[in-house]
């Protein structure tokens, strides 16, 4: 255990002794939404009610823009400026082309015409400069062993990125989307989730790609260590009005931001008011980052419903990508042969 880790634990312990975690969470939620401290409604089983259809769409970037230093919050004026830019973007997105015809960047359907531009979806109001909290506002740098892992992975794929489905990203393969996590990050569009609660369980269904995290809150241990899953294995418990979810058992294929199967995610869900859930998460992996990092996202009520996103079933794209790559190779081979 490193010295910095020891110190963190001691600091945390002192903090916990000083403040009741339950009320600390309620205060955090009130502060984050600028609303009074909230007593959430309860389910018939007597636990806080997180149910409904929500969106985690956000205009706040994960990492703080360079040059802002330790500035965690914009002023009202700066936040209004960001909002205005979002509005202007919305007009351009709905209006027409934002890329130069005949360029690679232009080879894409127009998001705005389908109502999919990020600026066309409702986002939570926030003055945060980044989702990552704290003075740095950045994901910590990768440890040397993680850099090595990344480099080896990249080297293995170099020159092979169009060879077969295994060489493509997890999203293209319809296996896992980056918004799913955990942690659950905002995504460009369809950032909707539906929460249902039954006795002893909280179920979180995300629109893309229809995965449901069923989180038991009965205190059972994690699944055996030998079971490794794309989305890990989650266990929840209530601390006051906050659902705390602990996720381990990640597969090393998940590789969230370069992490390994040692990835450990702790999430907190606190209902801040009728229309908002304060979602906080801490990510740690001692083989990837020197220290844990945390972020905060406001999840807001959405009109819904969540529609089916059957990715695998409609994945013409994978076949088309590989077919296109083979066509490119054939053409290049023909050109070489013609020159001979």
């Amino acid at each position: 255990m490193t010295t910095s880790r020891c110190i963190s634990i001691i600091v945390l312990a002192i903090a916990l002794l000083a403040v009741d975690p339950a009320s600390a969470q309620a205060l955090a939620a009130a502060k984050a939404t600028n609303t009074p401290a909230f007593t959430p409604p309860r389910t018939p089983d007597g636990v806080p009610d997180l149910q409904g259809v929500w969106t985690n769409a956000s205009a706040v970037p994960l990492e703080r823009p360079k040059g802002l230093g330790a500035k965690e919050f914009y002023t009202d004026e700066e936040a209004a400026q960001r909002e205005k830019q979002s509005q202007d973007q919305a007009e351009r997105a709905v209006g027409g082309r934002q890329t130069e015809p005949g360029t690679v960047a232009d080879v894409h359907y127009d998001l705005g015409q389908y109502g999919l531009s990020r600026s066309q979806s409702k986002t939570a109001e926030s003055k945060r400069t980044s989702l990552i909290v704290g003075p740095e506002g950045q994901v910590p740098p990768l440890l040397p062993e993680a850099q090595k892992r990344q480099a080896e992975r990249a080297a293995a794929n170099r020159g092979h990125q169009w060879d077969g489905p295994e060489n493509r990203g997890l999203s293209e393969r319809c296996i896992l989307w980056p918004n799913e996590g955990p942690p659950m990050l905002p995504v460009g569009y369809n950032g909707n989730l539906q929460i249902a609660q039954g006795p002893g369980y909280v179920a979180i269904m995300q629109e893309m790609i229809h995965d449901v995290r069923i989180i038991p809150t009965d205190g059972r241990p994690h699944a055996p260590q030998s079971i490794r899953q794309w989305m890990g294995d989650s266990r929840g418990h209530w601390e006051g009005n906050t659902l705390v979810v602990d996720t381990t058992n990640f597969s090393n294929k998940t590789a969230f931001r370069g992490s390994s199967d040692k990835l450990h995610v702790i999430e907190r869900f606190t209902r801040a008011n009728d229309d908002t859930i304060l979602y906080q998460f801490t990510v740690e992996d001692p083989t990837t980052w020197a220290k844990p990092w945390s972020a905060e996202i406001l999840i807001t009520k959405s009109a819904g419903p969540v529609f089916e996103y059957a990715c695998q079933e409609g994945n013409y794209g994978m076949a088309n990508i590989l077919s296109g790559a083979r066509a490119t190779e054939r053409k290049a081979a023909e050109e070489v042969a013609a020159k001979k």
Binding site: G67, E78, G95, G96, V107, T129, F307, G317, G324, A327
Partner: protein, 142 residues
């Protein structure tokens, strides 16, 4: 006293906003570049035969009569329909037989497949969201 944001804050704000608001996932562009050829722009005028309201991308199938009079059925890639659903569009919004015009790019492998960039009715009105001409502002028109 009116507080004016420091210039560097505005710059950072602009940069951050640009990153957040304009970037489609980087992988998406890269992969599209493998499927469709930016050097093969195409305009398709024809009638809808089928509208596949599926994910990850919807597809419009349309009969297009070539210069030689032969009718070819093209399939045109579009976006996830899920937000259109939330906006009240249903499968009846684009029934078979509807005349449409598609500006886009052809598939690299020579198939009768394209990615649709601008989708309009013959009068210039956009199929789903947007104004009647590129660059114009507009509410969604169903």
């Amino acid at each position: 006293m009116i507080r004016i944001p420091m210039r560097r804050n505005l710059l950072a704000l602009a940069a951050g906003a640009c990153l957040v608001l304009t970037a489609a996932p980087v992988w998406a562009h890269h992969a599209f570049a493998q499927e469709f050829d930016e050097k093969k722009p195409i305009t398709l005028k024809g009638t809808v035969t089928k509208w596949e309201l599926i994910n990850p991308h919807s597809w419009i199938h349309m009969d297009v009569k070539g210069a030689d009079g032969k009718v070819i059925n093209w399939m045109v890639e579009g976006g996830s329909p899920n937000n259109l659903f939330r906006l009240g569009f249903t499968k009846d919004a684009l029934p078979p037989g509807t005349e449409i015009v598609v500006d886009g790019y052809q598939a690299k492998d020579g198939a009768f497949r394209a990615v649709g960039k601008d989708l309009t009715f013959p009068d210039g009105k956009r199929l789903f969201m947007g104004g009647s001409a590129p660059g114009s502002h507009g509410e969604s028109e169903k």
